[in-house]
């Protein structure tokens, strides 16, 4: 029984160690890949957008504008369209 328990403990220790190692590895790989995406995709898109004065987020305020309300076009959709995530 003791041998079995000890073996169980060792294996569960190895298992949790492997899990942690896996998580660390995936965090490093994820961060590296995302960093690459950020530099290769987000960066150039953002720079080009700035050159063509495309605004992704509207932050301007103006005294000339009477209202900041904008129309909300949540038109009646067909039932099946609600299965979409967009």
């Amino acid at each position: 029984m003791n041998i079995r328990n000890t073996a169980k403990q060792i294996f569960s220790g190895i298992k949790s160690g492997m899990r942690e190692f896996g998580q660390c590895l995936s965090a490093i790989v994820n961060s590296t890949l995302l960093l690459l995406v950020y530099i290769v995709a987000v960066g150039p898109t953002s720079l080009i957008a700035r050159l063509v004065r495309k605004r992704f987020v509207e932050i301007e305020v103006s005294d000339d504008v009477k209202s900041y309300w904008s129309d909300l076009n949540l038109e009646n959709k067909k039932f099946d369209e609600y299965y979409r995530q967009f």
């Binding site: 904008s70 039932f79 979409r84 995530q85």
Partner: protein, 588 residues
């Protein structure tokens, strides 16, 4: 065969599930109550299991599952933020995108895997879910609808009109301009936690200068927001950082407000209190303008509110006096947690065109435990207890214990839906005792001294003690309205009278919770004032208790004197073998 629809809200904060049976909300609960993690945002598997068990059905019996937002639209907003803020958004990009890949964009897969549900999931726009969560369970056939929260997909504020089964949202204000996020920013600046402690700022505000003309912090804070006469607004984004970083405010904000972010351990100064007052005043300014504009546009007397800002009970209490609206409805769980009801109700009423049946009339939608189940728990854990013979004895014993200044854990019936304890999982005590705030804070709550305790009063007595709107609006039943305590009573119920003479009361109606109603009346016979202190039954930093085990653990970890659970009475001092110190582990 009845039609069951499940609503789900998760992966942001306060995840929840709600079940509709033929359009009637039969069960609803937040995941945090089961997982014991405050504001738990994970997939609400336990809440869903509870909802299904409560009706004795399986996943196969569900006609539809509805989700509370459109994930791809939210991702579009997130990516737009990263693009707009490049290269400053790198850190948040690296920290936020994995959760999108792993769960937020995989809702149908997660539902299929975790629930073994074979059909598709319906995705409802976030602010539609908010609007539906309020209007479709309201008593109104026609109403103006206003939703104000931190942010949904893109939208932060909307208004529109709803009639019958239809909700039409007409106008919106989009991220990053958000009244909810302004409140959260000030919450962060004052050293409190965002998406958790906004209500503390509301409680702190009356200690500050509430005069717009003389509060210098109000004048300063007005510079961060441009408000138009119709209530629409935009934030001056130089003062904020939440649109590109994992913090709320920028250095400019600190400069404007004349000091750095308060350290949570730092004593609150008059300046901090004035800032709390300032953000409350600005919120009230904007909301009043919005509501006046909406009343004019929609020509409705009825108003339904939803979104996190609708939990601002101080402002809610002023709505009917400061705007043309005559009637108001807010559901008990007005913030994101409540959208699970909205998503499901929108599918049933607005998409399937099924007739609205009955409005939501109480918040007791969570799990309950029979006396047999409670007894089994007590016996199996060798807990010493006594048994009360009937309801009358239960009510009279508890009233006497409260009158004798004991702090009572009150665990009865179905758990409440929403952030407030409403007499099902409550700590009750005597409001007439001046020292009760100190006693409660010392024994149980350990919370900031400035925070008031709430009074619970029977609805038919409310107007005698509080300067409420008449008739008392239904949201008062859910502790969503703050009203002045009438002058002659303020000194008689000091423990529930805030520094400005107000009280965040809960009105109790006999048909909602007869045992609790009778208890308040019985206490009134002993004390001359039928009002109780009602505060949430939880350990500091933990969610409100859900099960008998949670309740017993809470009592033994705090200084609650006695637990009235079902028909059983458990004294802390009889069970000291199980005592522990919850404060050692508590975190806000």
């Amino acid at each position: 065969m009845p039609m069951y629809i499940l609503g789900i809200s998760c992966f942001y904060h306060d995840s929840s599930a709600a079940l509709l049976k033929d359009g009637i909300v039969v069960a609803a609960a937040e995941e945090e109550r089961f997982s014991r993690k405050k504001h738990d945002s994970s997939f609400p598997i336990n809440a869903i299991k509870y909802c299904l068990q409560s009706q004795n059905i399986s996943v196969d019996d569900l006609e539809y599952i509805a989700f509370y937002e459109k994930p791809f639209l939210k991702l579009e907003r997130m990516l737009s933020q990263h693009l707009a803020a490049f290269p400053y958004s790198l850190k948040t990009f690296l920290s936020s995108i994995p959760s999108w890949i792993n769960e937020k964009l995989r809702v149908p897969k997660i539902v299929r895997k975790r629930l073994k549900y074979k059909k598709g999931v319906l995705f409802i726009d976030h602010h539609i879910a908010h609007a539906a969560s309020s209007f479709l369970v309201s008593p109104f056939n026609k109403a103006a609808v206003v939703t104000v929260d931190g942010v949904g997909e893109w939208t932060t504020t909307t208004y529109g009109i709803a009639e019958g089964n239809d909700i039409i949202l007409l106008k919106e204000i989009r991220f990053p301009h958000s009244l909810g996020l302004l409140y959260s920013t000030v919450t962060a600046y004052l050293g409190f936690s965002v998406n958790n402690s906004e209500y503390k700022i509301m409680g702190l505000a009356p200690y500050g200068n509430m005069d717009r003309k003389t509060n210098q912090q109000y004048k300063r804070l007005r510079n961060v927001i441009d408000i138009k006469p119709d209530g629409s607004y935009r934030m001056i984004m130089d003062y904020f950082a939440y649109h590109y970083a994992d913090r709320m405010l920028s250095g400019e904000f600190c400069e404007l407000m004349g000091g750095k972010i308060r350290n949570p351990s730092e004593e609150l100064s008059q300046r901090h209190k004035d800032i709390a007052a300032a953000v409350q005043l600005i919120t009230e300014d904007v909301m009043t303008l919005i509501l006046k504009n909406v009343a004019k546009t929609t020509e409705c007397d009825n108003l339904v509110l939803a979104g996190g800002v609708a939990l601002n009970s101080v402002y809610n209490g002023k709505i009917l006096r400061n705007t043309p609206f005559k009637r108001l409805w807010i559901q008990p769980n007005a913030s994101d947690g409540g959208t699970s009801i909205g998503a499901a109700a929108f599918v049933y009423h607005s998409l399937l065109r099924k007739k609205r049946v009955v409005p939501l009339t109480n918040a007791y939608l969570g799990p309950s435990f029979s006396d047999a189940e409670i007894k089994e728990f007590l016996d199996s854990n060798k807990i010493r207890y006594s048994t009360l013979d009937n309801d009358k004895e239960l009510v009279s014993t508890t009233a006497r214990l409260i009158h004798d200044n004991n702090v009572i854990g009150w665990f009865q019936g179905r758990m409440e839906w929403g952030p407030r304890a409403l007499g099902a999982r409550s700590i009750l005590s005597n409001p007439c005792n001046k020292k009760m705030i100190e006693i409660l804070n010392l024994k149980v709550k350990h919370r900031e001294k400035f925070r008031p305790f709430a009074p619970a009063v029977c609805a038919d007595d409310a107007l005698k003690y509080f300067d409420c709107d008449n008739p008392v609006p239904a949201p008062t039943d859910y502790m969503l309205m703050v009203y002045p305590v009438r002058g002659e009573w303020r000194k008689k119920i000091p423990a529930v009278t805030h520094v400005d003479g107000s009280g965040r009361l809960q009105t109790v109606r006999k048909e909602q919770n007869p045992r609790y109603y009778d208890l308040i009346k019985e206490f009134g016979k002993l004390s001359g004032i039928p009002i109780l202190i009602n505060t949430s039954f939880n350990i500091r930093g933990e969610p409100i208790v859900c099960t008998p085990e949670d309740a017993y653990r809470c009592m033994m970890g705090t200084g609650i004197d006695c637990l009235i659970i079902g028909k059983f009475v458990i004294w802390r001092e009889d069970n000291l073998k199980d005592a522990w110190n919850s404060e050692k582990y508590a975190k806000d």
